[in-house]
């Protein structure tokens, strides 16, 4: 069988665990979802400064002095750069079915419409960040970084997020295809 991965889950999992330890030792644990609010706050402070100042949530981020851009924000910027460089260098090694904007599994279940895929991706993104901000973290902040700190909130998040995602995935693919 043709190799259908670039590096194994073992290699990726161990490196990710070590990276978390490094980040926790040097600055603080990993996290991503807060930076969506920081980015929003930066724009909001420019476009609608009055609203941004009066909103109790936005005003906590994107302070006028530094616009809230710090360690966390450059980390997410780094993710984009690191992912971009690696994918440019190793594109040939990436399994064919993982390339492009139309996943074959989705296509088989929901058809060829790119619009449908993009609408779902967008709507899913809205729910993702609304949920992550309500919960105070996402897969990185709560699961990868929060559970290793044995935080009770992160255990609650891991169980509810995985539970809901599994039920939703089972529902979406109730009539196949094989994964």
């Amino acid at each position: 069988m043709e190799r259908d991965y670039i590096i194994s889950w073992k290699a990726a999992g161990i490196s990710l665990g070590l990276l978390l330890i490094l980040a926790t030792a040097l600055v603080k644990p990993l996290g991503v979802s807060t930076q969506f609010v920081v980015s929003d706050a930066v724009v909001a402070h420019k476009v609608a400064p009055k609203y941004a100042e009066s909103n109790t949530y936005l005003s906590k981020y994107g302070e006028k002095q530094d616009w809230g851009i710090g360690y966390g924000w450059v980390l997410v910027l780094g993710m984009f750069v690191g992912g971009g460089i690696t994918s440019a260098l190793l594109r040939k090694r990436q399994p064919e079915q993982d390339k492009g904007s139309m996943p074959p599994m989705w296509q088989e279940r929901f058809g060829d419409s790119m619009t449908r895929r993009y609408v779902a991706a967008f709507g899913g993104g809205v729910l993702l960040l609304f949920g992550a901000r309500l919960a105070g973290g996402c897969t990185s902040g709560h699961m990868i970084a929060g559970v290793p700190q044995l935080a009770i909130s992160s255990f609650i998040f891991a169980v509810t997020a995985f539970g809901a995602a599994i039920l939703m995935a089972k529902f979406l693919y109730r009539s196949g295809p094989e994964a």
Binding site: A12, T86, D98, L127, G131
Partner: protein, 176 residues
């Protein structure tokens, strides 16, 4: 300033690992959520298993910069459910949509845009839900260590061993 440089390089490594490990792959994410291809749960479980022991070893030496998120039960649980639904629909999470966008996946770019909108909607909703979902039933920054009154390193050793054992020796790679 140096914190920013460190953050940038940690981010680069994070993005590279997610790409190389297939975490931006819809096939892998949905495979795991459909409980068929266990790749992503094994990747995450391994990271958590290694990370838990490492973080508490650091803590033992007083070197861990912990950041414990507060346990406001309703907000975290409802947020987790909303997040999970979005995860299954998009096939991305907030970190992997950034990396997916960086490799040129247009669906990931739409998830990223949706995420910015979702975070803005949450900011707008915040004043109305703060009292009921975040201040209510908020137990603060509690951990398994503080709740059980057992030293964290023992719990971490037990959890790492249990989790890694489960992932390496019990869970299969695939279920039909």
């Amino acid at each position: 300033m140096s914190t920013l440089i460190i953050g940038f390089f940690i981010g680069c490594a994070f993005g590279a690992i997610l790409y190389l490990g297939g975490a931006t792959s819809y096939r892998r994410i949905l495979g795991t959520l459909r409980l068929k291809d266990m790749w992503i749960i094994k990747l995450m479980g391994t990271a958590i298993g290694v990370g838990t022991l490492g973080v508490y070893l650091l803590d033992l030496g007083g070197l861990a910069n912990m950041s414990i998120k507060p346990a406001y039960v309703w907000g975290v649980a409802i947020g987790g459910i909303v997040f999970g639904i979005g995860w299954a629909i998009s096939g991305f999470c907030p970190g992997t949509c950034v990396v997916g966008a960086s490799e040129g996946k247009k669906d990931a770019m739409f998830t990223l845009l949706g995420g910015l909108v979702g975070a803005l909607l949450f900011s707008m909703a915040y004043p109305y839900i703060e009292k009921g979902l975040i201040q209510n039933a908020n137990f603060g920054s509690i951990t398994l260590e503080s709740v059980l009154g057992v030293s964290g390193i023992y719990l971490a050793m037990a959890m790492s061993a249990g989790l890694l054992g489960l992932i390496f020796f019990v869970l299969k790679d695939r279920y039909e």
